[in-house]
């Protein structure tokens, strides 16, 4: 338990250090507006990252989230434009459509036994195409339309400067953390990821768990889509392109291991904020785009390496401790024999 707290402390510390570096070397980083807009930027990534954390903790991966957001957003925009459905219904449809995306991913993974990476890579193609199926066309030509429904646009808004997406993200993160740590499902997610075979042996339906995490991810993609169209005030065909990689980067920087069984939503939240801070801070320097890219890459590489070195160090310590105890055990065993 203490180790877990130590790890959290370190990840928060690295976030703070990064923020301090930006704060002292650039202008206008530590202003209320900027910090609020950083929290806004990480909102959509963060909401999806909660679901993807679940997936990665079960040792899976989801590459289709960006495309799913694109598809759901376009579907909503289409329905708003063509049928002028009420905002509440649109939100429901959005969440439902996202969930369906998740159901499909889960179906391909568990029922068709296609590995997660391949399954979600191909549904990424599928969802991208679905965007065009629902794209609004005029005389056969795609014409993206502005959304005028205030109920949707308000979702991109803020209360006293705090964006709704930020609030939702944080609320969902807390719920996610509770699911992971306090519920049966959470325990099963860890068990499935750390050792699927023995989770199966313990009577856990791991296929069901894996399916569930995909459904949760889809559900969250649906929620994220509402904020996406609320913010942009439209849905465009390229929406969400590359989002899946940002999400995965946030999740992994937040401490979830690809090998499964490790990480939590606290870490993911820090990871999502870290990525947003990095993106925001780099833009502050007015550097050429090349330098921005290079700095971003270098910082992430350093973070990953640091994380790995730290983990190895902790593993070694655990190992040493176990060794010592084993030797003590032998001692007592021998003494009494």
């Amino acid at each position: 338990m203490r180790q877990e707290n130590m790890r959290r402390l370190i990840s928060v510390a690295s976030l703070v250090i990064l923020a301090l570096v930006f704060g002292f070397t650039s202008n206008g980083f530590f202003t209320a507006t900027n910090i609020l807009s950083i929290l806004r930027e990480c909102g959509i990534t963060g909401i999806i990252a909660i679901g993807v954390s679940f997936v990665i903790i079960t040792a899976g991966i989801d590459l289709s989230t960006g495309a799913a957001v694109g598809f759901v957003s376009m579907l909503c925009a289409n329905l708003l434009y063509n049928y002028a459905l009420p905002a509440g219904l649109i939100m429901l449809i959005s969440i439902l459509a996202g969930t369906v995306c998740g159901v499909l991913n889960g179906f391909i993974v568990t029922k068709l036994r296609v590995p997660e990476f391949i399954a979600t890579l191909s549904t990424q193609y599928l969802f991208r195409s679905m965007v065009f199926v629902f794209a609004i066309r005029e005389m056969g030509v795609i014409t993206n339309k502005k959304i005028t429904d205030p109920g949707i646009l308000i979702m991109g808004g803020s209360i006293n400067g705090i964006y709704l997406v930020t609030i939702t993200f944080l609320v969902l993160a807390v719920i996610g953390q509770i699911i992971l740590k306090k519920t049966k499902l959470g325990t099963y997610i860890y068990a499935t990821g750390a050792n699927r075979k023995s989770a199966d042996l313990s009577g856990i339906n791991t296929d069901k768990v894996r399916w569930t995490v995909f459904i949760i991810t889809g559900f969250l993609c649906g929620i994220a889509s509402i904020f996406e169209i609320g913010r942009i005030g439209s849905a465009t065909t390229d929406l969400g392109t590359g989002l899946e990689f940002e999400v995965i980067a946030a999740v992994v920087i937040g401490g979830c291991a690809f090998s499964g069984g490790r990480g939590d939503i606290f870490g993911t939240t820090v990871g999502a904020i870290f990525m947003a801070v990095l993106q925001n801070g780099i833009l502050k320097y007015n550097l050429p785009t090349a330098a921005q890219l290079i700095i971003k890459g270098v910082v992430i590489v350093i973070m990953i390496i640091f994380d790995s070195v730290y983990n190895q160090y902790m593993q070694k310590k655990i190992h040493e401790k176990a060794n010592e105890e084993a030797n003590e055990g032998v001692q007592t065993a021998g003494g009494e024999a």
Binding site: V114, F245, A290, K296, I300, I304, I305, S308
Partner: protein, 336 residues
Amino acid sequence: MNKKMDIKAILGKSQRLWILVAVMLVLTVLQPGVFLTAANMKSILLSISVYGIMVCGTIFPILLGGIDLSVGAVAAAAGAFAVTWIVDHDFTNGAVIVGVLGGLLLGAVVGLIHGIIVTRFAVPPFLITLATQNIVYGVAQLLTENNVIACMKPESFAFLGGGRLIGIPFSIWIMLFMAIISYIILGRTVFGRNVYAVGGNAEACRLSGVRSRMVIITSYVASGLTAALSGIVLASMNRQAIAKAAQGYDNYVLTALVVGGASLMGGEGSIQGAVWGAFLVGVISNGLRLVGVASDYHGIVKCIVIVAAVALDAHVRFKKSGLQKSSSLFKKKAKA
């Protein structure tokens, strides 16, 4: 019977590649006299040649259970280096040689860095190569100064991507040549044997005296090299260097590899499978265009074919092994 076994062996023992045969059959019927012609096959091969070259090197990290997502960026940077060097040195043949070698070296260096980071720090290659992708694209931007650098001469450079040998585009020859080299390395050399072995169990290999680290580093270098080569071919084909060249090619490469039977867990896959995989993706895109399906909807068909191919393969394997209960879905079908 015997012949059938041979075809199976060539296809890399993977059922999923039979999908290719089925797809080609359907297209031949749909587009008689158009699809199954030498000219069309040539244009399919040409369309996959650039990432086909990448596949020949990227398969190495994949076989090790790793991944290289930076191939697109490396291609852009290498192409940018070659072209800018040639442009800056008066388009001489000498400049072409230096430019191409320099580009390849750049790719190799990126691969080397990946290899060293992956072996030294035991970090997930997925994330590392995703991050270096930014850095390398940054380098490409530096080289091109965010502009299009046209390079219409000399002939020797244009030949790499645009020339023809016995009526077949030279980039196809390069792809085939690289595929054969990969095939020989994987199938006939100690290094190739070691790649499969390390991908299956790195620790066992270390204890058997295999220099696992060297194998891993060399594999990433190979991936960087072929990515650079394909970038140079692409630059030559387009007669220009741009910083955003080859974006998304990592996706094409992965698709080709997984459709071709490679397991992302490592230890499984073959170069012939990967080339067949790339070819299948090329055939689908070509076929959809010939049939006249708008490019908007290609993704739907691609998704179905990939899932069908991989699911069929998985199903056959599970059925054969008898170790796991077959998916309930197939069970129901069997009963019905």
